[in-house]
């Protein structure tokens, strides 16, 4: 911490680290520690799947004492993943496993450091492994800010009436996957806002934030998500290949959300994710020779780029329910879209369910009795 060395204290914790080599089995050229901040999103994923979605809606993620341990291959030679576990108040252990590939962004951070010091200069080849490091002293700065506790607002809503009217879009939800419902009006608005920049000269990226609420089914205790509105990212700075939210963009979004949640009917509303478009085609050189004979094309720009993933991790870190639309184009210029949510520790393409905008929800907002990271504290 800049200027804070005199306050450093030490603590110990089991650690993971990334090992980088130029060739498989070659000498180690660098190690990159897996930081507490790298693990935070896996802890909230575990809180979501092992507490909130199991009916324990009042558990505060900050009160869970997570243990992070490596998972080894059957031969014991390689670390193939890691386990995030915690003990419940009644002594049960709950855990979630994550593959080592979920830490690829940490490996890329290490590789960027090597590029900066020219260790990787002249080569694009490098390989990485996850490794367990012995628990070692770690420098920790004392906190100078303390989180204010707030209740998690969610709507108590039976799932069955929603599934009865829902129209599946994209892959069907697999067993255990978080259900996501998007109203037809919100879906149309997300695409309208996101594709608006495509008509400008030159085309620019436009987008917004998805708004809705967390819901808890009183029958199963499971939680799910409903997206029912979109706020445009106004006053943003955009190019054909980028979209930056300015201070005014965030201020306007905050103002709208504060006004909205002040209304009892919308008290459980929150920002759930984002939408934006890639107003460019996947190929710059036109169509390939086989295009006229192909009914469909696998190429499109409806994907989350590396910049998108970094932005989502920064803006929506600790939000295991986050969801994102990307509206892109195929080589013929036809619109293609994709929907993403947290799946087993990463943002992955998934399906969702469309419901009518006039669906009548049970009007039962309920803040949990405990504070949670997903709470709201500013009015």
């Amino acid at each position: 911490m800049p200027g804070n060395d005199e306050h450093m204290t030490t603590t110990a914790r089991s650690e993971l680290e990334i090992v980088i080599r130029l060739t498989k089995g070659g000498p180690i050229v660098a190690t990159e520690p897996v930081l507490d901040s790298d693990l935070a999103e896996f802890e909230t994923d575990t809180w979501w799947s092992q507490c909130l979605r199991r009916g324990d809606h009042d558990v505060d993620v900050e009160d869970l004492d997570f243990a992070i341990t490596p998972v080894r291959s059957s031969s014991g030679d390689a670390v193939i993943g890691f386990r995030v576990a915690f003990d419940t108040t009644d002594g049960c252990c709950r855990e979630q496993l994550f593959a080592r590939t979920r830490l690829e962004h940490v490996a890329r951070r290490g590789a960027r450091r090597l590029l900066a010091d020219r260790t990787l200069a002249g080569t694009k080849e490098w390989v990485w492994e996850l490794s367990s490091a012995a628990a070692r002293p770690k420098l920790v700065a004392p906190r100078r800010a303390m989180r204010r506790r707030a209740a998690l607002h969610y709507r108590v809503q039976p799932l069955a009436p929603l599934t009865a009217v829902a129209r599946q879009q994209g892959p069907a939800a697999y067993d255990g996957q978080t259900r996501v419902f998007v109203t037809d009006a919100a879906l149309a608005l997300a695409e309208q806002i996101s594709r608006a920049g495509a008509s400008r000269t030159p085309p620019v990226e436009t987008g917004g934030v998805l708004v809705g609420c967390l819901c808890a089914c009183p029958d199963s205790g499971d939680m799910f998500i409903v997206v029912d509105d979109v706020l445009e990212a106004q006053a943003s700075e955009a190019t054909t290949f980028s979209l930056s939210y300015s201070g005014r963009t965030w201020s306007r979004i905050s103002a709208v959300m504060r006004a909205r949640v002040a209304v009892p009917e919308f008290e459980n509303h929150r920002i759930l994710g984002s939408c934006h478009a890639h107003p460019f085609r996947p190929t710059t050189g036109g169509l390939c020779d086989s295009c006229p004979s192909q009914a469909t094309c696998d190429l499109d720009t409806a994907f989350l780029s590396e910049d998108d993933l970094l932005w989502c991790r920064a803006a929506f870190g600790g939000q295991p329910w986050q969801v994102h639309f990307v509206f892109g184009l195929d080589p013929r210029g036809q619109g293609v879209s994709a929907f993403f949510g947290r799946e087993r520790g990463r943002l992955a393409a998934r399906g969702f369910d469309v419901i009518p905008a006039d669906f009548q929800f049970a009007n039962t907002d309920r803040p949990s009795t405990a504070a949670t990271r997903g709470g709201r504290t500013r009015g």
Binding site: M1, P2, G3, N4, H7, L35, D36, S37, D38, H105, R109, R112, A141, P142, R143, R144, A145, M146, R147, R148, R149, A150, E205, G207, V209, E237, F241, S242, L243, S244, Y245, G247, R248, W250, S251, S254, M257, R258, R270, I271, H276, S305, E306, D307, D308, L310, W311, R313, A314, A315, F316, G317, G318, Q319, R373, G374, G375, R376, T377, R378
Partner: protein
Amino acid sequence: MTRVLNSSNGSTQTIEFMASNVIETETWEASFDRATPAPAVAAALVHDMRLPTDVPWGLRDDGSSIYLDDRPIGEQIEPGACLSIVPRTHLG
């Protein structure tokens, strides 16, 4: 119940303010030496809030929507101000 570590109650050397993540799902009560440069304050908040460290971050005064610059935080905000910690990165 909340409390602030390293606080010097009543001292004119420290400034207390509220800091939120950009989507306002978390709010933190913060207390810093007035002379601390705003970027160092942002770095400390990123650490405490367990936000990604490989992202450039800025502090935005919610009242003015203006990003704080490199000067000491005590020169740029009033006590009790509401700040947001904002990723200075972009969708691409």
